[in-house]
């Protein structure tokens, strides 16, 4: 066995660092889904009638749909009646500071290194932490309030700003959109709501950390971000989850709306439990993320670093309606062991002079399977639309797979669409070269992978880029071969 293979063996046996369960009494509904469950969720959350109706419509529509199986991932059947659709920490006080929160909860946050405490404020991050399904603490709200920025949980938004939510909810991802989005529309428990009014530049990164905690609880977040004319906002999403034996379903929906000259930057670092090295117990991540560049010269930029989940099914997309609008997608998707990822983006060009850029970096290690699936559609009205796509795959070892499925559809002759794809491997000669300069095999792989991902990391806010690099290093552990 070579030196590098030994390193693999050693690292492969290391445990998932974030595997712990917080012991908090949880108020949860019994397993199963029917109209009564949906009404109960809506009632528990004291929602307006239109919201309950919308949920029910979504549920009825969902009943007519079939689970999609077109993606390049394999998993056993999901029993939707064997899932708990609502769980909230039992102690649910209104908190003005973290001192009032359940100490167990705070400890859990600390374990995760979540910047919730006072000192972390100095880092300039306002955190709306969703613990299981209900928001527990929100910071920085006042400062944001002064600027007229709303940043709160979806539940709170439905209480305080119902008309604003109603105006935009489901306008980008309708409840009929797809199987998982319909399910989410029916049962979503919470999520984040951000609204940046006309002409306001949000002075800090808005950040939410998600964490699935209660056993066998599917988590269905709903996030809505609206940037009015000339507004700017950067939103960060990061996640970890504890070890579980049964697969946990996660079906989130994220909607972004950018009006004239507005810009939304949405960054994700996703590190959910990927399952053990045989793939047992990981999270199923079936997410619908979509942004609408509704106004002229608006811009939406998705940046994601995906290292977790047993299965990832996710295509953050941009609908470029406004003339001169810009859509961007920067992605690093890393799979190890038995992980499966089918991820990519859709860029729908409708307005004139719309531009989109896709930079996708897939990294496959272990026996994992990593697919890029991307659609670029230039509609007949999209004069002078431009797209540039670059899809690279990096293979570590010889038991993993990488696939690229680009779909290009051009209905306007003035369009310019470019697609580049490469596949490369970390070679033994590269490792030896770095070894010979005094760099260990682990560090050599990190150096090569970080170099490979640089174009995407550059898009992340500074502190997030550091975290992304660290997470990637952690995910790489056990992958050197």
């Amino acid at each position: 066995m070579s030196n590098s293979e030994l390193t693999v063996e050693k690292l492969a046996n290391e445990e998932y660092k974030y595997g712990f369960v917080t012991d908090i009494e949880t108020d949860k509904l019994p397993k199963g889904l029917n109209e009564d469950v949906i009404k109960l969720i809506s009632e528990k959350k004291n929602e307006p009638g239109w919201m309950t109706d919308w949920r029910l419509k979504a549920y009825r529509h969902w009943l007519t749909m079939k689970e999609p199986h077109w993606s390049n991932v394999k998993y056993g059947p999901i029993d939707y009646q064997d899932i708990i659709y609502y769980a909230a920490p039992k102690k649910k006080p209104k908190l003005s500071s973290l001192n009032e929160a359940d100490p167990q909860l705070v400890k859990a946050f600390e374990k995760l290194g979540i910047p919730l405490e006072e000192q972390k404020r100095l880092a300039g991050v306002a955190v709306d932490a969703v613990f299981d399904s209900v928001s527990v603490a929100t910071t920085f709200k006042e400062k944001l309030n002064d600027l007229g920025i709303i940043f709160c949980s979806m539940s709170e938004a439905l209480q305080k700003y119902p008309e604003l939510v109603r105006k935009y909810l489901g306008t980008v991802v309708p409840y009929t959109d797809n199987f998982f989005a319909s399910l989410n529309s029916a049962v979503f428990s919470d999520g984040s709501f951000a609204f940046v009014p006309k002409g306001v530049r949000c002075p800090m990164e808005l950040s939410t950390y998600f964490r699935i905690n209660a056993s066998e609880t599917g988590q269905f977040e709903r996030t809505l971000i609206v940037a009015e004319e000339g507004a700017y906002v950067s939103y960060l999403e990061g996640c970890t989850a504890p070890i579980r034996d049964t697969n946990q379903l996660h079906a989130a929906v994220v909607e972004l709306v950018a009006l004239d000259n507005a810009e939304i930057k949405y960054s994700t670092v996703q590190n959910w439990y990927p399952g053990d090295k045989d793939g047992k117990g990981g999270i199923y991540n079936f997410v619908t993320k979509r942004g609408a560049c509704r106004g002229v010269s608006s811009k939406i930029s998705w940046t994601q670093v995906e290292t977790g989940s047993a299965i990832t099914w996710k295509y953050p997309s941009c609908i470029l309606q406004g003339d001169n609008s810009v859509g961007e997608f920067y992605s690093v998707a890393m799979t190890n062991n038995m992980q499966q990822a089918d991820t990519g983006t859709k860029m729908i060009h409708i307005g004139k002079n719309t531009r989109s850029t896709i930079i996708s970096k897939g990294i496959s290690a272990g026996r994992s399977n990593n697919s890029y699936r991307g659609q670029v559609r230039i509609t007949s009205k999209a004069e002078n639309a431009r797209n540039y796509s670059q899809c690279d795959s990096l293979l570590i070892g010889d038991k993993c797979g990488a696939h690229t499925f680009p779909y290009l559809e051009t209905n306007n002759p003035t369009a310019q669409v470019e697609h580049e794809a490469t596949t490369s491997k970390i070679g033994a000669d590269q490792i030896f070269y770095l070894n010979q300069r005094g760099i260990s095999t682990e560090d050599a792989v990190r150096l090569i992978v970080n170099g490979y991902c640089k174009e995407v990391f550059r898009q992340l806010p500074m502190e997030f880029a550091v975290e992304a690099t660290r997470l990637l290093s952690m995910s790489l552990e056990g992958s050197v071969g």
């Binding site: 490369s424 070894n435 010979q436 300069r437």
Partner: protein
């Protein structure tokens, strides 16, 4: 500094080195010459610890320590440097980041403080002048899109930065035009000192006009068949490897 005794090594079960004996002291420059397939590059790679090469017998002591028992990165940190015959491209890995990581790994190993980005850049600037290399190569990825000559010069830059005790130059002259060869040779000469030693693996006498060795060894069929001073290289150039081999056979 380096003492090789009866070293045997194989690649894919084929024995390439069949009993090498070589002693290198600090301050010396040794040239190892020989025809294609004689085992020159194998010797260089075995000393550096390339995993595909299996040592089947003998030993190599470096500063009294068992070199062959060390991991490749440990050998590097101990001060053994191999200038590769075919430098590897590392797409996306910034040349400066790479050099600084390599230098700091060695410093950490020796218990020295790591160099800050600023201090490193100052050092690097000096070394760049030494090897007459353009700044533009620093902001690029390691060897990516470099010409053959640029790659070889990048190897010498790494040598200049890492300041190895024992540098093994594996056919650093191959693929260089005469100007590049002169620059590379000048750089190496500037790096010569009483404290360090250099092993030059080369095919041609040409390089030795610029880097004058203290000793020349002829490697043939996995063995050193003849050793001598710098004049041996000229003799080889004149008579060819075959005649040297014939003489050797005759002598036996």
């Amino acid at each position: 500094m380096l003492e090789i005794k009866d070293l045997h090594a194989s690649v894919e079960e084929k024995e390439i080195l069949k009993g090498i004996d070589l002693k290198v002291n600090a301050g010396e420059v040794h040239a190892i010459m020989g025809p294609n397939g004689s085992g020159k590059s194998t010797l260089a790679n075995v000393l550096a610890g390339r995993p595909e090469y299996r040592v089947t017998g003998g030993e190599a002591l470096y500063e009294g320590k068992d070199l062959l028992a060390m991991a490749p990165e440990t050998r590097a940190r101990e001060g053994v440097f191999l200038a590769f015959q075919y430098p590897v491209e590392l797409p996306g890995v910034n040349n400066t980041t790479f050099l600084r990581t390599a230098l700091n790994e060695g410093r950490k190993y020796r218990g020295q403080p790591e160099l800050s980005a600023g201090a490193f850049l100052a050092l690097l600037k000096k070394k760049m002048q030494l090897v007459e290399m353009a700044d533009t190569l620093l902001s690029r990825a390691v060897n990516e899109g470099f010409s053959g000559g640029e790659k070889k010069r990048n190897e010498i830059l790494q040598m200049a930065v890492l300041e190895p005790r024992l540098a093994i130059l594996d056919e650093t002259d191959s693929g260089l035009d005469i100007d590049a060869l002169r620059i590379v040779a000048n750089s190496v000469n500037k790096l010569r000192s009483k404290e360090n030693a250099i092993i030059l693996v080369t095919h041609y006498q040409r390089l030795l006009n610029y880097i004058v060795p203290d000793f020349v060894h002829v490697l043939y069929n996995g063995k050193i068949v003849k050793s001598g001073g710098k004049e041996l290289a000229l003799e080889l150039e004149e008579k060819g490897y075959d005649s040297v081999r014939q003489e050797e056979i005759a002598a036996k």
